[in-house]
């Protein structure tokens, strides 16, 4: 099946989004030259900083003017541009199959992953994909070749939401596995205790990764608009509960609000870019806002 014919891929939307490039918040360590700031010093025209001369440095970069003033040797360093390595980590557990009126969260996540992956490769960046449920199901390394897109799309096309969620271990594993600084985009509903999640993100951040999370929720999960007793059946286990939403509704919404607030706060404190998305929102708008926001953040973030 060709890329364009995949149901989760909208070439028109991609075309519109491609006018905006995805930027990294932090300097990347790419293998090739690209449009992103490199963590290493390079040969671009953009002056970065001075450092002391050590024997062996290229004397072409000695700043003689500074020597005249200070009688000391300083070397001028320039910014290097490199490409971005991005890892898409997508939750494919059973909870992602929840659907009310706007399609499943899984379809939404797949659409976002496919679009982001295509955009990144098109702008010369490397993209890897990991899908997980209770374990890592599919894992492809970050590559820049156009054929890598097809591989990604094949995986996205055949993966199905099932099983329980084991995101925490996946985060820790990926934090160790991704060797150099990269952009990690996690797409999930994150129905997990917050502390372990934040531990996972902090592990990623410790490894200097630029972490972005797309927290996917269905509108019904947020609003909890039920008017009669319901038997709620857990999608990832055999547990079920009969309850009257009129009795439990307020408590549910309070618990959800507390969780979202804590998760968001924790992400920000950890330096994670937190994006909450409900599935009734047009994904193109979501990605557009995300990309624009990224451009605004470019150059303002600290070096990792």
């Amino acid at each position: 099946m060709s890329i364009e014919s995949q149901a989760f891929f909208d070439p028109a939307a991609v075309s519109r989004l491609s006018r905006i490039s995805l930027s990294a918040r932090h300097p990347m360590l790419g293998s090739v030259s690209g449009q992103h700031k490199s963590a290493a010093r390079g040969s671009s025209v953009e002056f970065a900083e001075y450092r002391k001369y050590v024997p062996g440095d290229d004397i072409r970069y000695v700043d003689w003017r500074v020597f005249g003033r200070t009688d000391k040797f300083f070397i001028k360093e320039f910014e290097a541009d490199t490409n971005l390595r991005c890892y898409l980590i997508m939750d494919t557990s059973a909870s992602m199959a929840f659907e009310a009126d706007h399609g499943t969260k899984f379809d939404y996540a797949r659409r976002m992953a496919a679009t982001l992956g295509y955009l990144l490769i098109k702008q010369g960046d490397a993209v890897g994909l990991t899908t997980f449920d209770e374990k890592r199901v599919h894992e492809i390394p970050a590559k820049t070749s156009p054929t890598h897109v097809k591989t990604m799309f094949d995986i996205l096309g055949k993966v199905e939401p099932k099983g329980a969620t084991e995101i925490v271990q996946t985060l820790h594993d990926m934090a160790e596995k991704i060797s150099s600084r990269a952009l990690v985009i996690v797409i999930s509903d994150f129905f997990q205790e917050i502390e372990p999640l934040l531990d996972g993100f902090q592990h990623m951040r410790y490894r200097n990764h630029d972490v972005t999370v797309f927290h996917l929720l269905d509108k019904q999960e947020v609003d909890f608009d039920f008017d009669r007793p319901i038997r709620f059946k857990d999608m990832e286990s055999t547990f079920d509960m009969v309850t009257d939403p009129s009795v439990i509704g307020r408590g549910y919404r309070e618990a959800l609000d507390n969780y979202l607030a804590a998760f968001q706060k924790g992400c920000r404190q950890s330096g994670v870019d937190y994006q909450r998305v409900t599935t009734d929102t047009d994904y193109e708008k979501v990605l557009s806002s995300f990309l624009l926001e990224r451009i605004g953040m470019k150059g303002k973030s600290k070096r990792g």
Binding site: A94, S95, M96, A97, F98, K105, D189, F191, D218, K219, E221, V222, D223, F226, R228, P229, I230, R231, F232, K233, D234, M235, E236, S237, F239, D240, M241, V242, T243, D244, S246, V247, I248, G249, R250, G251, Y252, R253, E254, A255, L256, Y259, L260, Q264, Y274, Q275, R276, V277, T278, D280, T281, D282, K285, V286, S289, F290, E293
Partner: protein, 665 residues
Amino acid sequence: MSFLRPELLPWLLLALIPLIIHLLNRLRYKTVPWAAMMFLIKANQSSTRNARLRHWLILASRCLLLLFFLFAVCRPIIGGWLGGALSGAPEKVILLLDRSASMEQIDPRQQMSKREQAIDLFARAASELGDSTRYILMEHVLREPVEIAGPDALRDLEYTAATDTAADIPALIRSAFYYLQRDPGGRAELWLASDCQTSNWRPESREWQSLMAQLNNLEMDLRIRLIPLSLPPQKNVSVAVNQLKRFVDQRQIEVNVEVFSSQPKTPEFKLAYVSNDRRTPVDISMEQPELRLTQRLPIIGDAKADGWGLIETQADENPADNRSYFVFADPEPARGMVVATRPETRRIGMLSIVPDGVLRFAQNVPFESVDNLGVSTTGLVIWQGGQPDAQTESNLLAFAENGGQVLCFPSAEVNVSGPFGLNWQEIDKTDEETGFNVERWDEDDGPLARTADGTQLRVGDMSIQRRQQIQVDNDWQILADFEDDTPLFLRRVVGQGHIYAFTTLPETDWSLLGDGLVIVPVIQRLLAKGGARNARVRNAVCGEWRPPNTDVNWQPMHSTEFQDPRWTAGVYQSDNLNSEKIALNRPARENDMTYVPREDAIALFGDLPVTALDEGEATAGKSVTSELWRWFIYFALLFMLIEGLLLLADRRPKRSSSGREALRA
């Protein structure tokens, strides 16, 4: 609290609908696959006791809302005259209406008579009871049950119209008792409307006790509702012809009139004598509540011819007592008959019949010859002795029913039956000089009443050394009794006549009854009363006289409109060959201006549950019921409001699901 529509009470179960819907919903739940289970579990754990409480409060509010609304539909009543302990509309209501002459007194606040007020209150109370109750009207004149279609029919019935009669409230209640005895079962109520005039209620009569005992023994749930309309008149004057004499030679009649006023002093007012179409007005003022007048009126035309007239006074609070009628004619001799086994009694009886020998005839009938007792022209039969044979007793009963009077004396033999249900028992003797003390006797009405000039008969002064115990049924009324409640003088009403009985003999070794001061007036009165039945022209008491022959019509001479002589005062003439005339007047006891207090009236009913309307409630024309349905609607609205507030408290603003908000997060 009770309900006007108790048959709707089962619908109160509808108040359970919210609960049933709640339970059905719980049973018919939908299954929803859910991803965010962790939040549900947290919510369920903390679950807000408050949320559950709010949920149950909302459910309770809905149930109570329906419950109060349905209660209102059932029309609960409480308090007032018809409420109280009533637990539902009765199966039948017997409306006892006192429509005596005194009930025509007009209440200036209501501008209607007490009788009209009573009918209005009956109709309003009955209309609020609903359709499941039967209504039986009994008025005091005929005392016959008349089942009416509905409360509205009361106002147009002839049986609720005004009369010029006196009521006998115990007898009226007794008639209701007989009706209930024939038609028992279920819940019944007696609604009694009366002005509680003492002469009509006779609160001292022992008949009340026996009557209440009988009512209590009825195996049914019986309640009494009393409408006392006992507001006394403020400015009322009534007139009554007391005596009439004809002076043929002088071509005059002399009318003796009694005037009664409700005020201690009455300023000048008009009185008019009307006779032979001639009106003679007189201006009167009264310094006392009672006044006796004597007026001579000319006889126009034949001095010996029959005639009639009336006395009337100006309109006041009670139009029913403003007129009194009289007729006059040549007097006819009174005839009496004595049947006695004891010579002394026979002698006294004969003497008492003809004390002055004028216009009196006394016949002595030996006891052995009582067969074929010829009583057709007799007014009074004095009977002393034992039981007559069946035919004789039947004749005597017919005589009494036809207006004759019978006076019985003890047989003087122990445990002997007398006529008319008299059972003579032991003979009591006393050696005390004063003898057995007579404590009470009826001075207002009957043979022992005061004389026309107000003189009391010396009943209490009689020395009675012997008396015979008597056993009678409840048809006998005690007119005089001793200190120990043993009866002295009794009366039984039989048709249009009466049977009287003394329990002592007019013999010297028995009592001083024979000295004449009591026995003669008694016998003369009975003679006049009994003799009147045969008189071509006579005066009678309205309500006590009945047309003797249903084939004879009695046309009113005092009015051009139809009047019923059974209960309307006036002068009537028969349309037969005799062309008899009769002047019917309201009874003298209707002039009584004393009333039984409300509490005393209630006490007369003994242990029976009685609710009496307050005088103020009756005269103010307030509703006799106090319905609560409005309060129940208010409560229903209150619970609707509570439910709404609880639901609002549970509502949260909808979340914005825009992407911008999501990204800003």
